[in-house]
Structures are given as C-alpha cells and as structure tokens.
Symmetry: C2
Subunit: 333 residues, 2 copies
Amino acid sequence: MTIKELAQELDMSTTTVSRVLTGQEKKYRISEKTAQRVREMASQLDFAPNLIARNLRLQRTNTIGLIIPDISNPFFANLARTVEEELRKRNKMVLLCDTKDDLTTEKESVELLLARKVDGLLVAPIGEKWEHLRKNVNVPLVLIDRYFENHNFPYVTTDNYYGAYEATSHLILKGHQNIACIQGLVHTSPNQSRIRGFQKALEDYGIDSTAASILGDDYSVENGYVSTKTLLQEEEIPTAIFALNNQIALGAMKAITEAGLQIPEDISLLSFDEQYYFELLSPPLSSVKQPMQAIGKTAVETLFELLDDKKATFHKLKPVLIERASVKNISKL
Amino acid sequence: MTIKELAQELDMSTTTVSRVLTGQEKKYRISEKTAQRVREMASQLDFAPNLIARNLRLQRTNTIGLIIPDISNPFFANLARTVEEELRKRNKMVLLCDTKDDLTTEKESVELLLARKVDGLLVAPIGEKWEHLRKNVNVPLVLIDRYFENHNFPYVTTDNYYGAYEATSHLILKGHQNIACIQGLVHTSPNQSRIRGFQKALEDYGIDSTAASILGDDYSVENGYVSTKTLLQEEEIPTAIFALNNQIALGAMKAITEAGLQIPEDISLLSFDEQYYFELLSPPLSSVKQPMQAIGKTAVETLFELLDDKKATFHKLKPVLIERASVKNISKL
DNA sequence: TAGTTTTGCACAATCGATTGTGCAATTTAA
DNA sequence: TTAAATTGCACAATCGATTGTGCAAAACTA
C-alpha cells in the first residue's frame, strides 16, 4: 500500500494525502472535510508511509547509530537500554553495532552507519584511533564512556579520575599500602583516568606510586583471573586489589577463591563499576558505582543539542563508592 | 558525494558507474579499463553509495529488527550480541527495540520496524498476544526464547520443559519434597513449559504437584525478592526454591540472606538461566544453563532460511544442569 | 457586475540509487 | 567490401515519498 494507491482510492492527488498525513493540512489549506476523508481511509486501510522513501526525500532517517564494544558487558547493556528508551521518546531508533573491542570492526561500523545516513552517532570507541570518527563523519557524534584527551569530541563519561581517587583513598584509609591495580584496555580514557586517580591518591598519602603493581590489559573476566593469578605468585602479595571494571573484579575473585584465599581476610578487593548482584557475592563486593542511567540519558541529550545546532558539551559524571564487605580494615590504629 | 557527481568526475554515465560498483561489469560488458577507472576514482574520493536510495530502489534494506523485552537482562544481552555478530557476517544490521515487557511498546515496535522495511524480524515477544505479529507482517519472522503454542510461528528456544524437569528431578533426588517455584511472566511460553516440567517431575516422583506453591509474576529481581519473602513467612517453609530465571534467583538469594538464613543449609536454591558469575556467588549457585549462543545463531540461520524461501523450522535446544553448592542433599538414605 | 482575494487542490520535480533496453562503434564473418 | 555479430556504454523509467508553485473555482469587495 503506497500513498499513490491510497490517493487513487480517495480519488485525489498524492500531494493532498501526503499533506494531511504529515499534519500540514492547515499550512496548505486542505479543507477539514478532505482531511477527514483522508485520515479515515488511511486508518481503514492500515496505511503506513514507506519510511525509506520519506527518508530519501527528507535526507533524515530518525535513526541513531550506537557503537559499543561489548553488549554482553552489563555496563554497556544498561547503557544501551537507557539510550534506546530515550531515543524512543524522541521518535528515533537505534542501529546497534557491537565492535568486540576491535578497531577494524569499529571503523567498518562507522562507515556502514554513515552510508545508512544515520542522523547521529553515539560511540564508545576502542580508543586507539580517532581519525575514522572525524573523516567523512558529517553527523553529530557523542562519545560515551570513553573519550579522547586531545580531541574535542563531545563526550559523556564517568569522572573516572575522581572515582579511582576515592576508591584508592578508601583502601589507604583502611590501612592498605601495598595495593595492586588490574587494568582494562590500556589506551582507553577511562582506564588512563582511573590509573591516574589511583596513582595520585597513593602519592597524596605518601606512598610510592611507582612501586605499585599495575597489570592487565583488557576488560575481560579472563584478564582479571590471569592477572590475579600472577599477583598471587609474587613474593609479596598485595593486601588489596583494585579491579578497574566489573568483569576484571569477577575474574580476580575467582582466582583468589581458587587459590584458597579469603576475601577480605587474606586479601581485599575493590571493583570499579557496580553491578546489582555484587551485594550477593561472597563476600559482598565493594565497588565504585557509575551513574549509568545518567550517562545514557545525558549522552542522548547532548546528541540532541548537537542536532539542534547547539554547541558541543562535555560531561564527567561523578561516581559513588559503595562500601560492602570485600575490603578489610588493616590499619593499626 | 553522489554517484552522479562521481560519474561527472569520470565523464561517464551513472549507469556505468553503478554497474561497476555493484560488481556487474561483466554482466553488462563494461570494459576492464573503464571498470578500473571507476574503482580508482571511487576509492580516491571515498565514495560510498547512499544506502537509503539503494534500499528504496531494491526494496530491501539489509536490516533486521530485533525486538526483545529487556536488554539489561544478561540473557537477552548475550542473545543480542550473538545475533549482531551473525548478522554482521551476512552484511545485515540490527535495529534494536527494547519493549520492557510492555505489549503496547511491542506492537509499536513492530509497526515502526515494518515501516522502515526491515527484511526480517527476530522477536522475543511478551507472549500475551500474537495478532500484531501476523497482521501486515509481510517479512519473515522468527521467535526467540518465547513462542506461541497454538500458532505456527517459527521459533528457536530452550527446551524449557526438559530443563525444568531435570532441575526438579535433581532437587527431588536430593531429597526435597517441599519445593516452591517462583515463576516469571505467567503467560510466556518458557514460563509455562518450565512450570509443566516442574509439575511433571513432581508427579513422576509421586509428589502431589497441586500442593507445591508456585508464585511470582514476572522475571525481575524484585519479584524473586518479594516472592521469597512471602515464602519465608509461611508456616511450613519449603526446603528448596526453584527460581525460573537468573534475576528471580538473585532476588530470592537476597531475601534469603536478609532473613538470616543460609543457602543451602536452611534452604536450597536452584536457578533456571545460568550466568557466568553464579560460581562466585555465596554459595555458588546451581543452575540450568541455556545454550544462549546456539539460540542466537540458530535464530539467525532460521531467519535466513525463510529469507531464502525455505520452509519454516522449529527448534528446542537442550539446556544443561550445572551443579554447584546451592542445593543440599537432605535425603535420608 | 467586474475585479480582487481566498480557498482548495494538483502538477511535476526531487531525493540517489538501479536496470531494461537501445544504439553507435568496433570487430568478425562471408 | 558488405553484412552480421559483438562490444561498450548511455537514456530514461523506477522505487515512494515530499513540496514549491500554479491554477481554477469560490467567496468577497467595490
């Protein structure tokens, strides 16, 4: 059923039908009687305009591309949900791309989405390169979670520096001096900020930050597991581990448990990136909670500001430390 | 940059350019020399055809609509990931709709996706109604996870009956007679099949299935929590709880812990729907593991069979029981 | 009544690709 | 050398909407 057929059925021009159905009958002086007839027939015949044709004509698709590294990571799944919800409110849809933290896939995704003429892009980039996010990208783009230090892409992210600083301070105040940090993808901005926050806290409390072991290389459970195994084989085992995301924390937990050690009696564990089941783990896991909903919502809002030709904005949202039972107080006081 | 401009640059017709770029130069006898020139210029100018225009002309969008109830549920997040990956291999993209288990949103999503002329639909429906999945739906559709007993939509799902039967048998063999079951959305097929499997197992072992308490009404953590609270207030507390999905299980766990009870000493807990962190919970949670990857992959394969005009197929994939430490053996033997 | 304004709607171009068909130019066959 | 076959490419229609503009008919004004 096309608008043409509908018009024939009504014995009028497609022009008139189109104008009524797009709510422009006033503007083009279509009589109320005619408008009525059109609307009735349209709903009677279940007419829905072909959006492909409309998109071509209007040079606008009401579609946003969402590029994330891993939808099976609950952090991004939650983000995707909020984004979808916010966009739905604004009559836009989401084209989803999961890059698996692979740069080639990310580049390819950008190209595919642009060829499909999305109205805008929301990207949680791998982080190594940014050129492909600029070149030929003629639509608004907002970075989520990760951004680039030296390039002014608008972004929405957690204040990772702050979060890591708070988390590390917390550990230190509980008496920990030998703290290991297991990181995620090294070149991503959240990782770098968290590392800086970690180191700064150590320094501020007079601990030699260069001596602290920082290991690991991606955001996987596997990495948390392997890195922790390594740590546990060192001569001097750290008294606390700071895991830079939820999956690393789980891997760490598994390794510690397998080694027959107890958290927090033998070793403390603190995670960046809260999950709702953390309170049910053994022991309940302390963590830094990112404002996930706010990130998604703000990202969409920021994108819409750009779509409305407003100025780019930049957002670092504060995370919150949630104390549970995985950090032991070993201070001598 | 349009194909027309590219053609002007090359001083030839758009026809020729189009034919070369779509790999039809042989078919239309374009000389290799010309083809070369076209390809070079195209890559030099970073030309990418406008897919909206192509889609309109070809009546095909290489886009699949994925409708799921809750992307923040890791079950569906994992599913989404597999689906995206499989579709990417086949040069298709995913338009994502999260219905929040709301029927109106589901109906709306179907309409929006159809208006966008998706080539096919993958749907995990709410389950109450199915008419909107048939009416005006002129593209292949495959149901995932949930299906309709009395309507022959092709589907891919876990063998929920089998899984629940096995799980319940497991509990019974461990000596449990008073087993409570906390269900999800009552009218969804997985829920119904699981309930049937649960009841059949009870009967087969000579336990009065009508006496077993079945409570709860959706797949949320909240429901697991509230329902368990209710259970724990009964005169005779069940010796085991069978939670029909991962979120319900977490809620149950929380309620049990809060009540000061121990799993499995005071009460056993078994979950349908495995998650990778279950082994790290306190205690490690036994569960029925659904073949999530296989479901996603099979769903995409099934959809492509339909796209190739092959016959609809129906799949029930076997789940596996994973024994951990949340079920106590209380048999008197 | 004639001229002007307003009302109500349709014609045809346009968005950017793809493709059936036709027509020169070149090559081959006779 | 001429006719037939082949090669190489372009014209113009098409997909299904939206929209600037134009033109009758109706309503109003003088």
